[in-house]
Subunit: 923 residues, 2 copies
């Protein structure tokens, strides 16, 4: 699992924590309000002593069982021994108080009555499960015993009811669990006997064993226990029960549980409850069945009851997939199950009851439920209900439908969809039902799927794409020179670089699928091939990459493009009404701008002008500009670029009619625009009339040890003022001309990499000068460009109060702020960041979600200090974090005005911004 | 001037500002205490109406003149028209109040009486100067008129007294100044006439003109003024006086003065005073003289009256150097002036009076004075006294002497020496009296002077040095591979890099002279030569470099090594008693450590273990370690290094017996240890039994885009734990073994580049483990190494409270903190930083003095937050800023415990730390 994915998983867990704590204290309150005397809480037959508010006393499971029972749901009856008893038991060093024993027996009698069965009865024995259930979920940490109540006598009764095979298989399972949990006999001893039995009977599967076989195995198990423990297996059902209850209480203090609590900060004193519940069986023959159902379609979200069942089977048979389950109704049919009988026909009464129940559950829990049911001899039992997992598409549909139905509020609906999953809906996805051969897995750097022929250079990508071919660009890593090739390709695959490497960032900006940092690829450009182990992929071979999973797959796989339904639009509309944070986009071309606008962008927050410089028609002029020997020849070269840039801005302004457009002046170091390969140097030198040596000398002089901290950003503006002057002239001329056409233009000029107020003060003066010069040529124009700055250097955040004196707006570049504040070059972090995550030094990749503890301080400080100088200072965030839901919540809390993300992240940001508001006050 | 020097000059000015403000408010108080009625303040003949506390009213100059008069110093008499009158004059729009006119005439009569001359008198005319004098110094901003009182009549009287030439030259000077200041006639008109006169008389120098010539020129000037102004030049002395006084008041509001005040934040309402003072002349013939003197020797600081004079001359003649001045006494004789008559013989009474005066002045001003005097017809007049400039050596001597004499306190003495100049005393200096040809000038990166033959490679430097030659290493830039060559050379010269480039930092650490960033050098390694313009310097040519000025000089110049006298030791002792900040040193070898200890270092604050890795005997093992394919082979290589490192540490610990030694674990990126040149790669590949391709592949894989933000520092420790384990083992073993010999060892282990508390937590555990493993082998040892961290990443400072949980001490690496916080790679800043300083964007190079406004916040935050967790946390600063006096004052204010600087900066730091204490409360 990539660090990013791991991180987001953990975060999910963390974010949920405060909610459960809140519930816990509510329950403590209820508990103290009057129920504290009671130690054993019965449930069953529509009546329960407890309810969902008593989680502290009953544990999560016990509280839920009580709640369902109270709803009139047919839950198998039982009782919960409260956590208070656990405390008493622990205090008394493993002795169950006599009063509790009495209460348990009373509650047990109640269960017997409801089920019409008796505990230890030779004819119709009642069997129970004994399970732990703590107030805070500790999955898999404590023990469970099923089928308790079986012994040499009751097993024969059960055999008469449900067959020998079933009865003795159940018995041996019980013995095995009981031995493990209560008697401390290691499980492998049993496994060995079972394997031996199968061998001697010449079979390989448990299901191939007959009743008599199981009967034999039970005998062997019983002997084994007597050997191991020096005593026969307890035959008294009641004795079994006490043993199991005490073992569950003991399990609270086993090493695993203690470690888990320490790790998750759970108090030792909480204790666990014990749930004793009647067993029900869907495999006792005629009139028996078991199934699972979703209250709505978990794949599409349609409001249809949806599920499947098996007749005369246990729950695990449905999951195991040995037999094909039948649909519960017509709506649940698939192509495969079109001919099978449905539950609504085979057990119409049961089905009707199930329908009533699912409606009641959904109404009560106000969410789509995933339920497990069992029909035992014609009687329906609900074993479990929980919020159902669903696809993102279904999540959107269900949330919107439920809000329309009045089941939840629109705010609830907005909270119901995982914002970070939302852009799955916008990209083509791989049809994973087709057979596939995963060659390697890299980082899921930019979602979507791409299919094409392998090319190893940007030039070839462009050439083949022009010829109408679909290609996947494979590079060790990408650089700005590869941008046009990336644009031409269907997708991008790199061997190096992280989630925020050049390839990843640019691809996400383009909405192009990308798998990055696929370290096992050994690319040989010269040979035109790459190797993964002994597999060789050659240029021209078909390759499929899945940017949502990081999978690289040999061959040409089908993809599907999901449709954005009305519900999606509705949910977005609701989000827009709730959120306060504005959402803009990062876009450098009119096409990107238009797409982002369709996705709801409210302006451009970052137009990177340098992306316009790489166009083949312009790069020569750019290089002339860089290689100019003096200011005059630099200006000559810039004069060639001016009309082109003006044209670019016109297109952007037109696309963003009425919305603000923030244009960042030239940012990257100049050497990025020069060729570095020998052959290219030759071509460029010739084109510019230079000697190769001259060009090399210039390249050498532009070389930097740490370009990130070098001559870039506004430092270019200070040292070569002509460049920014040309850019500002192009922006303002474009704005004035377009505005004369009736387009509403709101240009914002942004100065990058400001470290010191002196830089901005100087450049702002120059920019203002150019603005007023240009405006004097368009006397009627109402264009009033504002001038602001990126805050992307730690010092700028620290001195934001002084910098704000010269800025109409701030825009945090949290990528660079992270790189510098964290001393972490995103292009170089690949060599150690994985090891960091592995060793638990870092939980998160700070380029994926903003590091709130560290870099977040700079964002907060910069915002607050900037506003001490200009209380109404507009503050934005552009860059990768602006499209990350968790970071967006942080930005909203800090009081940022807008985020600006890549077009495909715009809906994600809109939703996340609304969720930030909805979560306010929820901690 | 380099940015650094410019910066330190400006700072000096800034630091002085609060003091003068303080004085100003004191003077305001005195003024309000009773003297406010008086508008004209007389001085002369031992009596003055004002004194030095009335600066607000009298201006700086007026207050000083009054003060000197009150001391009984024979100042030419005069009077000061107060700043209040300036206010009234400005309010009345240029009209001098009648009462003031009356007071002026009264005061003038007083002057006439003292001088025995009359204003406008045809026989013995009184001439006066009229000068502005504001409460705050505004040098050159306002006007001055000399010789006022001359007209057609008085000039003839003066001619009779002092000759025609003198009288008419004085008159034409007066006309010219008056015309410029009062009548607004452009100066160039006069220049033209003067040039014309010289041409027509066939001479080129003013001094070649005779009295009659000047008489003619005066006539032309008078005509010119009448032409230009339409009125004759005012012939009434009184009219001249009013015109001059009003012009001085007007000059307060001229454009230059307004701009100056705006720039320096001086209130417009202050106003200027006007000083009218009798002229005195040292060139009126017999019994006349003029001279300058220092109350102590400004070069050596010896307590001897020291000066020179010229008979029958004006002050400007002494300065102009046309005639050789005579010594005032025997102590002032030089080889050149050994035979000349001295003032104490030629004018014994005057000399005796001068002696009395200088003693009185020194006692009063409590500092060595630089005085100007004139003898007019046998009468001594003091024109000026001010604190005298002196060499650093003299400054030390004078400060210590004066403290011993009881003239000043020891604290005062400590404040009297410019700490940043102190290391001049420790390095050899160029004998600049020898003729020299400056080839080029770079940055004065490490002080001292070096003479040697040019070599262009570190290897050659080593080879030739071993052969006993003196060499100067010339490189485009240096890298860690050059360290041994740098050590072998007398000095280092680089074409690229700033004050904190590798060459500069390492050279300063070694106390080796270095000129860096000498951009005009075009080095051709292949040809073995460098060019500056059309000059060619070849390998083997003699070169002299002056690291204190940045000069690169052709040829072999003599150098002198200054002696450190007793006074220096005394001053250091006093500093040590005053300061609270401890001073440690950065040292990697026992030799450096011993030298630093002699300079007063109180421990090692930074031992860079990697410097030990470049030794030719070790580098192979280091490279094996880097190229190891797995942990086991890495350990094999490390095992070879272990005994060597242990030996290193033993040496250091021995040298630092009783003092703490902070050892920083490996910090630089591994690629720095690998060869990069083709030929070297070949050699290394062979030595390691690798193919060139393998070695190249490793190099390629270690390449980083931004190594500063890459895989270095503790990131190496996290990813390759064996390296740090070996280093810790070496440290602790060395400590235990040495301590068994009776040496007191106090090792401190320091983890570099910590960004996140998780890193330190993990590494600290491992380090503690190794410590206790080693210690278990030396059960008797009392060695208890502490474990701390560098704070050099912005995030570490921001989260210092959490990091402090795992650190026994902090040491700020303010170099890296500046690089990251400022987004400024010190190796790359050369391409734009000069332009920044030129354009006034930055005042200071943030690598020379810490940027208090920005990076300083991180230091303060890190210290304060660290101490919220550990109130007694020891906090140091290592790196360049630790040796910079201005930064040291800041660190002292923040509450840092110690600074650690290169050995030669230790005395600087000791003094600066004492000054920080002495300045407390002084604002």
């Amino acid at each position: 699992m990539s660090p990013a994915r791991k991180a987001s998983k953990k975060k999910g867990g963390k974010a949920a924590a405060p909610r459960s704590q809140k519930k816990r204290s509510a329950s403590r309150k209820a508990a103290s309000a009057g129920e504290t005397d009671r130690r054993v809480f019965s449930f069953g037959d529509g009546r329960a002593d407890g309810n969902s508010t008593l989680r502290e006393l009953l544990g999560g499971k016990g509280a839920n069982l009580a709640e369902m029972t109270n709803l009139g749901i047919p839950v198998p009856p039982g009782f919960t021994i409260s956590t208070l008893v656990c405390g008493e038991y622990r205090k008394k060093k493993g002795k169950l108080p006599a009063a509790v024993r009495a209460d348990v027996l009373t509650a047990l009698a109640n269960v017997e009555q409801i089920r019409g069965r008796k505990f230890g009865d030779p004819e119709k024995p009642l069997l129970v499960s004994v399970r732990s259930g703590a107030p805070v979920s500790m999955p898999g940490m404590m023990d469970t015993i099923l089928n308790l109540g079986l012994n040499g006598v009751t097993v024969e009764g059960l055999a008469r009811e449900a067959g020998e095979r079933f009865a003795f298989d159940s018995y041996r399972r019980f013995i095995q669990m009981y031995a493990d949990v209560v008697l401390d006999v290691p499980l492998d001893r049993f496994e060995y006997r079972l394997e031996h039995a199968k061998l001697s009977r010449g079979v390989t599967l448990d299901t191939e064993l007959e009743g008599a076989d199981w009967r034999g195995i039970v005998q062997e198990y019983l002997q084994l226990i007597e050997q191991e423990t020096g005593a026969p297996f307890p035959q008294s059902a009641e004795e079994q029960l006490w043993g199991a209850i005490e073992a569950v209480f003991d399990s609270w203090d086993n090493a695993r549980a203690i470690a888990y609590r320490k790790l998750h900060g759970i108090e030792n004193s909480l204790g666990t409850a014990v749930n004793v519940q009647s067993m029900v069986f869907g495999n006792m023959g005629e009139g028996c069945a078991t199934g699972v159902a979703f209250t709505r379609n978990p794949s599409t979200g349609e409001n249809d009851f949806y599920g499947e069942y098996l007749e005369n089977a246990q729950g695990e048979d449905v999951v195991a997939g040995v037999r094909t389950p039948q649909p519960i109704n017509d709506a649940s049919r698939t192509a495969e199950t079109a001919e099978l009988p449905v539950l609504s026909d085979t057990m119409p009464d049961v089905y009707k009851e199930l329908e009533k129940i699912y409606r009641r559950l959904e109404k009560h829990y106000r969410d789509m439920q995933d339920i497990e049911f069992t029909v035992e001899q014609g009687r329906l039992w609900l074993l479990q209900t929980r919020n159902g997992k669903r696809t993102t598409q279904a999540a959107v549909q269900i949330a919107v439908d439920m809000a329309k139905e009045g089941l939840i509020t629109r705010k609830d609906a907005v909270m119901r969809v995982d914002a970070s999953a939302l852009d799955q809906l916008l990209h083509p996805a791989l049809d994973r039902s087709a057979p596939l051969e995963v060659l390697a897995t890299g980082l899921p750097a930019s979602p979507g799927a791409a299919v094409g022929r392998v090319v190893f250079s940007a030039e070839e990508a462009e050439a083949r794409a022009k010829a109408g071919e679909h290609v996947v660009l494979v590079r060790a890593e990408t650089s700005p020179e590869d941008i046009l090739g990336m644009h031409a390709a269907q997708g991008v695959l790199t061997a190096r670089g992280g989630m925020t490497s050049h390839a990843a960032v640019v691809a996400r900006g383009m909405g192009k699928c990308c798998v990055a940092g696929c370290g096992v690829l050994a690319i040989d450009y010269a040979a035109g091939e790459m190797r993964v182990g002994d597999k060789v992929v050659r240029a021209g071979d078909w390759l499929t990459v899945d940017g949502s999973t990081g999978d690289v797959i040999l061959g040409e796989l089908p993809t599907v493009v999901p449709e954005l339904g009305e519900s999606f639009e509705e949910l977005m509309k609701w989000s827009d009404r709730i959120r306060r944070l504005k959402v803009r986009t990062n876009a450098d071309t009119p096409e990107d701008a238009e797409m982002a606008r369709r996705f709801g962008a409210e302006g451009i927050g970052l137009c990177r002008t340098e992306h316009m410089f790489f166009d083949p028609e312009r790069i020569l002029a750019v290089r002339e500009m860089i290689l100019a020997h003096d200011s005059a020849s630099r200006q000559t070269a810039l004069a060639k670029l001016l009309p082109m840039q003006r044209q670019d801005f016109k297109g952007l302004f037109r696309a963003m009619d009425g919305l603000p457009v923030t244009v960042r002046l030239l940012d990257p170091p100049l050497h990025e625009f020069l060729p570095h390969q020998d052959d290219e140097i030759l071509v460029v030198a010739e084109a510019l009339g230079l000697s190769v040596a001259e060009l090399r000398a210039k390249l050498e002089s532009l070389h930097e040890f740490n370009p990130m901290l070098g001559h870039r950003g506004c430092r270019l503006g200070v040292t070569f003022p002509e460049i920014y002057r040309m850019q500002v002239q192009a922006i303002v001329e474009a704005a004035c001309e377009i505005s004369a056409e009736g387009v509403k233009v709101r240009p914002e000029i942004m100065v990058p990499l400001v470290t010191h107020a002196g830089e901005l003060s100087l450049l702002r003066e120059e920019i203002k000068q150019v603005i007023s010069q240009v405006r004097s040529c368009y006397p009627d124009s109402r264009v009033r460009p504002s001038v602001g700055t990126m805050i992307e250097v730690p010092r700028a955040a620290l001195t934001a109060d002084v910098i704000a004196e010269h800025a109409d707006f701030f825009s945090f570049g949290t990528n660079d702020l992270t790189q510098m504040g964290y001393a972490l070059s995103r292009d170089d972090a690949g060599s150690f960041l994985p090891s960091y995550v592995e060793q638990g030094v870092l939980e998160d990749d700070p380029f994926v979600s903003i590091d709130e503890d560290g870099i977040g301080q700079l964002v907060r400080m910069g915002t607050e200090r900037g506003r001490t100088t200009r209380p109404r200072l507009k503050v934005g965030v552009c860059g990768e974090h602006a499209g990350d839901p968790q970071s967006i919540r942080f930005f909203a809390a800090v009081g940022i005005d807008y985020v600006s993300c890549s077009p495909y992240r715009v809906p994600v940001a809109r939703l996340a911004a609304a969720q930030a508001v909805a979560m306010e006050g929820a901690g």
